[in-house]
C-alpha cells in the first residue's frame, strides 16, 4: 500500500491481489446522515490500523466488514464473498466488538468454550483451553466475567475471537482498559498472529496505540478515507504540521520579540494572549524556557490550542 493523502474520497487505493478484506465504493447512510462516504480499499496479510477521531465512521466500517451492517452502496467482501447475510464467512473471521458487555454469568473459560462450540470445533474444550493460555487468563478462567476488570474482559473477548484460529481478525478498540503490561503482551500476540500470515485490522482513536503495531494505517475522517499508507509517513505528516500555542507571561510583548528569532517559530500574534505558531513542537518546547529566562520574562501559562485528534485529522484532510 502506498502512502498517500486523498484529495478525493473516491480515489481507490491499490488493490492487493490476495485481498482478504475489500471495500469497493462503500457508503453507509442513515436517513440524511452519511456515516461512511464512498470508501475503497483492500487489505492482505499483516496488521493495518484503522485510525480516526470518535464518530469518524470506524465502527460503521468494521460493522459492515463484520456482516452486521448492510452497506447502503458498494460492496464489502471478505475472502472475495459478500460479508452481508453470509454467516459462513465467520469460519475465517474473528471479531472483537467495541462494546464492553460480555455475558457476565459465564466464566472466562465458559465464554471461550461457548465460542468454540458455536464454531462447531471438533475439540471445543481443547480449543478453549488453548486460547485461555494465549490471552493469559488461566488464573481467572473459572471466575465469572462479571467480576473481571475491564482489561480482563477485553482479553476474554479476544479469546472468544481467536478460539477458532481465524485467518482474519477485526478488532474494534481492543486495547481499551488494558494496562501497559497487558497492552504489550497483546501487541506481541497480534504481531505473532500477523507473522503467521493473518490479516488483522485494528481500529483506534489513539495514534500511539498503533505506533509499534501497524505498518499500514487507514485514516478515516467524517466518513471519508483521508489518508492511507505507512504508519511512519502518516505520523510524520501529523507531527510536522504547525502547532499553535497560547502563552501568558509577565511581559508578552518582550517574549514575542524574543521568540520570533527562534527558528522553530513561524509566527507570533499579540492579543488577549500571546499566540505562537511553531513548526516543530519538540524543539519549541525545549527552547521556550531558555528564551523566556534570557529575555527576563516569567512564564505563567503555556497551552496548546489544536492538539485534539479532530484537529490533527482535519489537518490531514485539508492537506
Amino acid at each position: 500500500m502506498s502512502t498517500q493523502l486523498l484529495e478525493s474520497p473516491s480515489v481507490p487505493l491499490p488493490v492487493s491481489s490476495a485481498a482478504a478484506l475489500e471495500l469497493r465504493n462503500v457508503s453507509k447512510w442513515y436517513g440524511n446522515v452519511v456515516a461512511v462516504n464512498d470508501i475503497t480499499f483492500s487489505l492482505g496479510a499483516g496488521i493495518t490500523g484503522l485510525l480516526g477521531p470518535n464518530g469518524a465512521g470506524k465502527s460503521t466500517i468494521l460493522h459492515m466488514m463484520s456482516g452486521f451492517l448492510e452497506p447502503s452502496a458498494g460492496e464489502v467482501l471478505v475472502d472475495g464473498r459478500s460479508a452481508w447475510k453470509n454467516p459462513e464467512m465467520y469460519r475465517a473471521l474473528g471479531l472483537v466488538p467495541e462494546r464492553e458487555a460480555v455475558y457476565p454469568f459465564l466464566t472466562g473459560y465458559e465464554f471461550a468454550l461457548m465460542n468454540a462450540r458455536l464454531h462447531g470445533l471438533a475439540d471445543a474444550k481443547a480449543a478453549a483451553e488453548r486460547v485461555i493460555d494465549i490471552v493469559d487468563l488461566r488464573g481467572a478462567m473459572n471466575r465469572r466475567i462479571g467480576t473481571y476488570s475491564k482489561g480482563m474482559r477485553q482479553r476474554a473477548k479476544i479469546a472468544g475471537a481467536l478460539v477458532h484460529d481465524p485467518r482474519i481478525l477485526l478488532l474494534d478498540e481492543p486495547f481499551n482498559g488494558m494496562d501497559p503490561t497487558q497492552r504489550m503482551q497483546m501487541m506481541d500476540l497480534l504481531k505473532r498472529l500477523a507473522a503467521e500470515g493473518r490479516t488483522i485490522l485494528i481500529s483506534s482513536h489513539i495514534l500511539e496505540e498503533l505506533d509499534q503495531l501497524a505498518n499500514n494505517v487507514l485514516v478515516v475522517v467524517s466518513g471519508r478515507l483521508a489518508a492511507s499508507g505507512h504508519f511512519r509517513e502518516i505520523r510524520r505528516l501529523m507531527t510536522d504540521r504547525p502547532h499553535t500555542f497560547n502563552l501568558r507571561s509577565s511581559d508578552d510583548r518582550r517574549l514575542a520579540s524574543a521568540l520570533v528569532a527562534h527558528p522553530s517559530v513561524h509566527g507570533v500574534e499579540l492579543g488577549e494572549h500571546l499566540s505562537v505558531r511553531a513548526s516543530d513542537r519538540g524543539s519549541f518546547a525545549l527552547a521556550l524556557a531558555g528564551i523566556a529566562r534570557t529575555a527576563g520574562v516569567t512564564l505563567y501559562e503555556l497551552r496548546p490550542t489544536d492538539e485534539s485528534l479532530e484537529s490533527v485529522f482535519s489537518y490531514l484532510v485539508k492537506r
Partner: protein
C-alpha cells in the same frame, strides 16, 4: 449439534432467563392460582368448580400471556440491548436454528413455570390431582399456548425495540377488549386457541371451559400463526443490523 436446536445457544438463553429479575417477578405470579384455590377452598361459599373456572381464566387470560411476553421478548431482548447479540450472530450458525432454539427455550421456560402452577392449583382446589383428565388436558393446552405466544413475542422482539409495550397492547387490547366487543377477532387470538385446545383436550367436561373454536381449527390456526411468526423472526434475524452504538 442436534438437528433443530443448538444446545449451546439454548444454555445461554436459559442462563440469561434465570438471571433476569423481571422473569422471576412474573414467575412469582404463577403461584397466584394455587393461592386463590387455597383461600377459596376454605372461605368461599361458591362451588369449587366455579372457583376453578375463575382460576383457569386467570391462568389463560393473564398469567400465560404475561409470562410468555416477558420470557419471549427476553430471549433476544437482553442481548440486543447490551450488544452481546454480536457473539451469537458472529458465528457460522444458520439463523433459523438460532430463532428456533430461542422460541423453544422460551416456550419451555413458560411451560416449566405455568404447568406446575396449574397442577398445584388443581391439587389444592380439587384435593386430588386430576378429576377426569381435566387438569392434564388443560395443562397441556397451556404448554402449547405458551409456545405459540413465545413464537409471536420472539418475532416481536426482533421487529421493534418496544416489543414489551406492543405485546402488552396485543394482549390487553386485542385479546382482552376487542375479542369481547367483536367476537370475530377471536379467530386471531392465541388465548382463544389455548382455550379451545384445553376444551378439546379436557373433553369439554361439565362445560368448565368455554371456547368459541373447535380443537382442530384452533390447532391449525395456532400452527399457522406460529409458523408465520417464526418465519418472520428468521427473516428479521437474517437482516438484523447491529448499529454504530454496538
Amino acid at each position: 449439534m442436534s438437528l433443530m436446536i443448538e444446545r449451546t445457544l439454548a444454555k445461554i438463553a436459559i442462563r440469561q432467563l434465570t438471571g433476569n429479575r423481571k422473569v422471576w417477578w412474573v414467575a412469582l405470579l404463577a403461584l397466584l392460582p394455587a393461592l386463590i384455590a387455597f383461600i377459596a377452598a376454605r372461605q368461599t361459599e361458591q362451588s369449587m368448580e366455579t372457583v376453578m373456572v375463575e382460576t383457569s381464566t386467570l391462568i389463560v387470560s393473564v398469567l400465560l400471556p404475561l409470562l410468555a411476553l416477558v420470557v419471549g421478548t427476553g430471549v433476544f431482548g437482553a442481548e440486543i440491548d447490551d450488544g452481546t447479540i454480536a457473539y451469537v450472530l458472529g458465528k457460522p450458525v444458520a439463523r433459523w436454528r438460532i430463532v428456533l432454539t430461542r422460541i423453544v427455550v422460551a416456550g419451555a421456560a413458560t411451560a416449566a413455570l405455568l404447568v406446575p402452577a396449574t397442577l398445584l392449583a388443581a391439587l389444592v382446589g380439587f384435593q386430588r390431582l386430576d378429576p377426569d383428565g381435566l387438569v392434564l388436558g388443560f395443562a397441556a393446552a397451556v404448554a402449547v399456548g405458551g409456545l405459540l405466544y413465545c413464537a409471536l413475542f420472539v418475532a416481536l422482539s426482533l421487529t421493534t425495540r418496544r416489543a414489551l409495550i406492543v405485546g402488552l397492547i396485543y394482549v390487553v387490547v386485542w385479546e382482552g377488549s376487542l375479542s369481547r366487543l367483536m367476537p370475530g377477532t377471536r379467530a386471531l387470538s392465541i388465548r382463544e386457541y389455548t382455550l379451545s385446545l384445553a376444551e378439546a383436550l379436557a373433553g369439554g367436561k361439565d362445560g368448565m371451559i368455554a371456547a368459541s373454536l373447535d380443537g382442530r381449527t384452533a390447532l391449525i390456526m395456532g400452527t399457522v400463526v406460529a409458523v408465520l411468526a417464526t418465519a418472520h423472526a428468521i427473516r428479521r434475524l437474517k437482516r438484523f443490523e447491529i448499529g454504530e452504538a454496538v
